[in-house]
Amino acid sequence: MRRDDSISHTSARPLLEIRGLGLDFGTPRGRVHALRNVSLDVPAAQVVGIVGESGSGKSTLAYTVMGLLPENADVTAGSILFEGKDLLKMPAQARRSLLGDRLSMIFQDPMTALNPVRTIESQMIDIQHHEQGSRSEKRARALEMLHRVGIPDPQSRIGAYPHHFSGGMRQRVCIAMALLVKPTLLVADEPTTALDATLEVQIIRLLKDLQKEIGCSILFVSHHLGAVAELCDRVAVMYAGEVVEQGAVRDIFHNPAHPYTRALLECDPGRIKKSTRTLPTIPGEVPSLLGSKEGCIFRTRCRHASNRCVLENPVEYRIGVDQVARCHLLDEERLVSA
């Protein structure tokens, strides 16, 4: 069974549908094809993880959804449907008014995401500019949200400046601000990367609880497989600007179909139980994204690569009910078994 578009696994329309998205960055050396034919769904009230290594385009995808791209970025193909409307065709003004209202974001580095010269209070009141209500009502909402994200004694802390808070506390403030506007989609770009391991556990738990409570969807970008396994309902694995495999979190972690997903899971040192002096690696390097791309993007590092992988771009093959991967091997396996 071959399929060219991504899966629509629920009868209801997904909250966010990305279809065939292509994005280039113009550089002095030529165009870098940072995203190629990316299709992805974020169903309502689910957490979708995007995993990949640096340079795989996972953050670029998050910023494209938010419309926060640098000037040299150029969307070449595809559509991003949010609640049925194409974000890429929307007038700039309409798109901007979605931010901090239906769409909000948590950034990677909590140390630089807050304005250092203004108090938490004024920043938390400002972010509610779409909402009705007086300043004191907004302040009360901010206090309640600070309490919910676990800031002790919010009454006295709300007047503090960002530098009065530690990294973990600042990330809690950022989460409080992002959720204060009651978004339907929260985009979280590596929210735990800059934090220590024991704080990461706290933040993941907090996001999980608040997501259940508020019922929003989360697009969770991370390179940490453990965090994705714990938080997400669905996962998309990205490599060099393409989504190579996606599906339900259980299927991806228990039954990875794409050689890259398998290699990535094998490399995680948390998975290696036996004591060994040699750790598994993925030999080779991520290919340059300059110039046109023919064939499978992973073939230079894949141990199963054949002639077909050089010539033909793999389409998505369905495995099971809710998992697709772009690899020619899956087609061949099917032929053998059929």
């Binding site: 220590d196 391991a197 453990g226 259980r250 972690f253 040192p269 060994t276």
Partner: protein
């Protein structure tokens, strides 16, 4: 304050075996170059690295692990305590007297690209150590190529600048630079920070292979326990500038005794959505070094804390069956079930 030693023995006649030494006063390093108030970034820390051994210092940010590394190579002075290398006390040596010892200790800094000068080519970067130590007889070109070969990079990399390197390649250049003077001890500060999992393995495998070939000792500083598991012989876990648990890596992974070690081990489990989630959520955050908690410094976040933990600073204890494994806790973990029987334990003489 507990006294301490830091010692790296390398004497050929001694076959690389180090003895525990008598106490020589504590090693207390400064966080800043300013006058008072001092922050005790590291206090009462004592350890030794044996020839050819790999030791890991593990802890979260602010626990003082990098401060120890910087103090060993002399970027910061210790306030008290001693650091001896191959039998020579080096903490009291100044500038020129220290140089011959520093030649035998190499450091890999945290940021792989940031630690390389952007204006120098890889060739200059690799041969700078020879110039600094006045080794004019070496042929710069061939030495640079030899070092690149050792770390598995092609010889034409000598003409590249740091911005033309990927994170993993820059890390390899950092390793080659550390190897330039054939050191006896390499200090690797977060050798895998900022690297992807697929590249992380390559860098650790390379360090392990070079250690097998060249026999140097390695001090690895990291916050990621998974990184040290397959790489190190012994490990020390730090919290607020103190060692809270020290022992053989294998043993600590199998049988952590300190609740903080337990939480750290649980913080990075196997990525499996169906795994029973036994991630231990620590309350609160690391306290400020300016306001150290009373008693056991971990009691503010410990889920087993009792009254005594608020009041009494725990003395180091050792496992009855392995005296090399010591920990500072009033109620150390006992296998699966947590037993609170003090009789099982006995205090040791040496500080951890």
């Amino acid at each position: 304050m507990k006294s301490g030693w830091f010692r790296h023995e390398r004497a050929a006649s001694c076959s690389g075996f180090a003895r525990p030494l008598p106490h020589q006063g504590s090693l207390k390093a400064l966080a800043t170059g300013t006058k008072a108030p001092f922050i005790d970034a590291v206090c009462g820390v004592s350890f030794e690295i044996r020839k050819g051994e790999t030791l890991a210092l593990v802890g979260e940010s602010g626990s003082g692990k990098s401060t120890i590394a910087r103090t060993i190579i002399g970027l910061q002075r210790a306030v008290s305590g001693s650091i001896s290398f191959d039998g020579q006390e080096i903490e009291e040596l100044s500038g020129a007297e220290r140089k011959p010892y520093l030649r035998r200790i190499a450091m890999m800094f945290q940021d792989p690209i940031g630690s390389l000068s952007p204006r120098l080519t890889v060739r200059s970067l690799l041969t700078e150590p020879f110039r600094i130590h006045g080794l004019k007889d070496r042929d710069a070109g061939s030495e640079a190529e030899r070092l690149l070969r050792m770390v598995g990079l092609p010889a034409d990399f000598v003409r590249r600048y740091p911005h033309q390197l990927s994170g993993g390649q820059a890390r390899r250049v950092g390793i080659a630079r550390a190897l330039a003077l054939d050191p006896d001890l390499i200090i690797a500060d977060e050798p895998t920070a900022g690297l992807d999992v697929s590249v992380q393995g390559e860098v650790l495998n390379l360090l392990a292979r070079l250690q097998d070939e060249l026999g140097m000792a390695i001090l690895i500083i990291t916050h990621n326990l998974n990184v040290v598991r397959h790489m190190t012989d012994r490990m020390a876990i730090m919290y607020l500038g103190r060692f809270i648990e020290v022992g053989s890596t294998e043993r600590i992974f199998e049988h952590p005794r300190h609740p903080y070690t337990e939480a750290l081990l649980a913080a990075n489990p196997e990525p499996d959505p169906d795994a029973v989630l036994n991630r231990i959520e620590l309350k609160g955050e690391v306290p400020s070094l300016l306001r150290r908690p009373s008693g056991c410094e971990f009691h503010t976040r410990c889920r087993y804390a009792q009254d005594i933990c608020h009041r009494v600073f725990p003395e180091p204890l050792a496992s009855p069956d392995d005296t090399e494994h010591s920990f500072r806790c009033h109620f150390p973990l006992e296998g699966e079930a947590v037993q609170r029987e003090q009789e099982l334990l006995f205090p040791v003489e040496e500080g951890i």
